[in-house]
Amino acid sequence: MQQTFVQPEFRVKIDYDKCHKCGRCVQQCGWGVYDFNERPIPHDEKCRACHRCVTFCPAHCITIEKNTLAFRDNDNWSTDARKAVWKQSETGGVLLTSMGNPKPYERIFDKLVLDACQVTNPSIDPLREPMELRTYLGRKSDSVSAEPDGRGGYKLASSAGLERNVKLDVPIIFAPMSYGSVSLNVHRSLALAAQRCGILMNTGEGGLHEDLYPYQDNVIVQVASGRFGVSPEYLQRGAAIEIKIGQGAKPGIGGHLPGEKIDREVSATRMIPQGSDAISPAPHHDIYSIEDLRQLIYALKEASGYKPVGVKIAAVHNVAAIASGIVRAGADYIYLDGFRGGTGAAPAVIRDHIGIPVAIAVAAVDQRLRDEGIRNQASIIAAGSIRSSADAAKAIALGADVVAIGTASLLALGCHLCQSCHTGKCSWGITTQKPELTRRIDPEWGADRLTNLIHAWSHELQEILGALGVNAVESLRGSRERLRSIGLDEQTCRILGVKPAGL
């Protein structure tokens, strides 16, 4: 057998003095790290550092360490670069990975700070005063008119064009992740949590399993280039419909769910054969222009009784002009997915080198739509590594209506960001279809954790809004004056519409 040059990334250390020899680690590990011969014997090369064994070891005797094997220092040839060359010369393959871009590009959100009220205007205490997080996803009318309400006051003369909007109790929704890339129990957890929180989950491009029908009013159904699971019934069930053009983790390329992940249930939900690869072409072959996009948007409206139709794109260089075209094509919302966004599988070269940060994309799109006088015609959803309520607040201040969280929601369910979703062996039962692994997520447990996360971030958002002295999240939207930058160059500040701290 040919010896690989790629040495294990981690060392699995077991304190055998403490070890109960119970074999729990053997049973918990989805990667097959452990053999058992009177005691667990780890094979370091299979370890993904997902901590499933560490978490469930009753003796707390397992630690995972980095393999500290020394390489001759070379700032130019990182050890990762050397390993990639070895791996590719051994296999001839495109390097496949998962989750979001981990490279040390500038993290814009970490260079932005929020404002607060001091002395000259009062801050608000959200624990004791009303603080509104509700918002609406969809097209708003160009104008509103009021009429007397018969009690001496006024009310809106109509529904203010909100009748085709989706009401969200908080401006945080779950990002699209397909059944197939994640397990059905993950979908159930997300749907249950979305219903409890008054928000939305998103099917991704894998269809809507019938177990999710009771939650359909809290589900965005996605239409991607593979058209998996897309039937008139599917379109009529969703609260909104989303055309997926691109994804932040892999702009411009298609999807590819390997045949071994397509079991009977996935096959039935996607409406494709079992065991065949599910290939999503890179483009929609009925969309080669903005006019074609408009044709699909209105086809979906015709087929669904005029539900809101959004368009998801990856944040790329010319995003503002593209977004303008999307709004003019009739989209009710634009979903901007930044280059840190996660994926169930993507070539590393694409994930790590294509796309732009969501913060910049949101600012550019919001400004362009305002300049063109069409900002009211579509909501903006920002996604692609919203890691905290602070990121959410900053994205909203830059111009987003709503943020979507994918990676954060998977972290809530046990994900440790080991970047191995594409293997289908997720020990946490998230990105796998193996029954012995998927049953590790109980949807009630999952929904509780997701609900906790949404509630916690919601409270934090209220605290932020209170500090800013505003009582509604919609008052923060596009309010870039409430942001300042630290250490960003002048050009980036100009694009963001944000002044440097001190000004």
């Binding site: 791996k87 058209r227 897309v230 008139p232 690869d277 009925d286 044709q295 209105y298 015709e302 087929a303």
Partner: protein
């Protein structure tokens, strides 16, 4: 002082040149005739949906001239639409069960993401015909455009069938994942053209393509195997051709009198070896 007349922009998304009003409808039992002349697609489709829920079994649409989305998303069986004129883009898109017969040509996207039903076009059809179709039958009498039958897919008992009586352009059956695509090359306006263009069956990983006559090796994608259709293959094809010939008023025996080329994918997992896991 001069006052400028206010220009009223049409609502966003509205295609100009049509009248936004309900079409005139005449009913005779469960047969309904709709005058679609100059009517915008939204009002036309509203009328079709109303008539279907009112129990109409046969809906004749007269004066159709490019209206999009006729029959789009129609979930009903036992109902037939007859289109007199030129059907616009996305005819029978997402259709689940209805039968549509077009006496004229059809534009792009016929049967797009169609679930089930039957579409017969007594003329030519445009590009992206049958894109993502997962069930039902689409029969076109004449020539078809580019990207026809892309990503058709079969699922359990749903097997889409698309038969084109004329010639096709590039990318016929690209990404095909299931079902049957048939190209006859008979009813064509362009005798000089090849029966199909390039990239035939490129990326194909399911289903079968039948071509009446032969294609050259440069025309087909790298992922397919090309053979002459044998007895078993012809047994699979014959009932489809008979059904098609019946719908078009053609002679099945004559269509079947020439040998067919059979194109199938060599793998259901064409890209399985492309990647190395990190």
């Amino acid at each position: 002082m001069m006052t400028k007349a206010a220009t009223v922009a049409p609502p966003a998304g509205v295609i100009e040149g049509y009248r936004q009003q309900a079409p005139s409808v005449t009913r005779d039992g469960d047969v309904v005739t709709v005058d679609a002349t100059g009517i915008y697609y939204q009002q036309l489709n509203d009328a079709i949906r109303d008539e279907v829920s009112g129990g109409a079994k046969r809906i004749v649409l007269n004066g159709v001239n490019g209206q999009r989305y006729v029959g789009c998303g129609l979930r009903v069986s036992g109902v037939k639409l007859e289109v007199n004129g030129c059907a616009g883009n996305d005819l029978a898109m997402f259709t689940d069960g209805a039968e549509i017969e077009v006496f004229g040509n059809a534009q792009d996207g016929v049967g797009n993401t169609m679930s089930s039903g039957r579409v017969v076009v007594h003329g030519d059809a445009g590009d992206v015909l049958g894109y993502g179709m997962r069930g039902g039958n689409v029969y076109v009498k004449g020539d078809v455009g580019y990207r026809v039958g892309i990503h058709m897919k079969a699922y359990e008992k749903n097997i889409p069938v698309l038969v084109c009586g004329g010639k096709a352009r590039d990318f016929f059956g690209e990404y095909m994942a299931g079902g049957m695509l048939v190209l006859l090359g008979i009813n064509t306006r362009d005798a000089a053209q090849r029966i199909a263009g390039g990239f035939l069956g490129a990326g194909m990983h399911g289903g079968v393509i039948y071509i009446r006559g032969t294609v050259e090796s440069w025309q087909v994608g790298a992922e397919v195997g090309v053979t002459e259709a044998d007895e078993d293959a012809m047994a699979e094809l014959r009932p489809i051709i008979e059904d098609y010939a019946g719908a078009m008023g053609m002679d099945a025996a004559e269509i079947l009198s020439q040998p067919f080329t059979r194109i199938v994918p060599m793998s259901h997992r064409p890209y399985a070896k492309l990647y190395a896991s990190m």
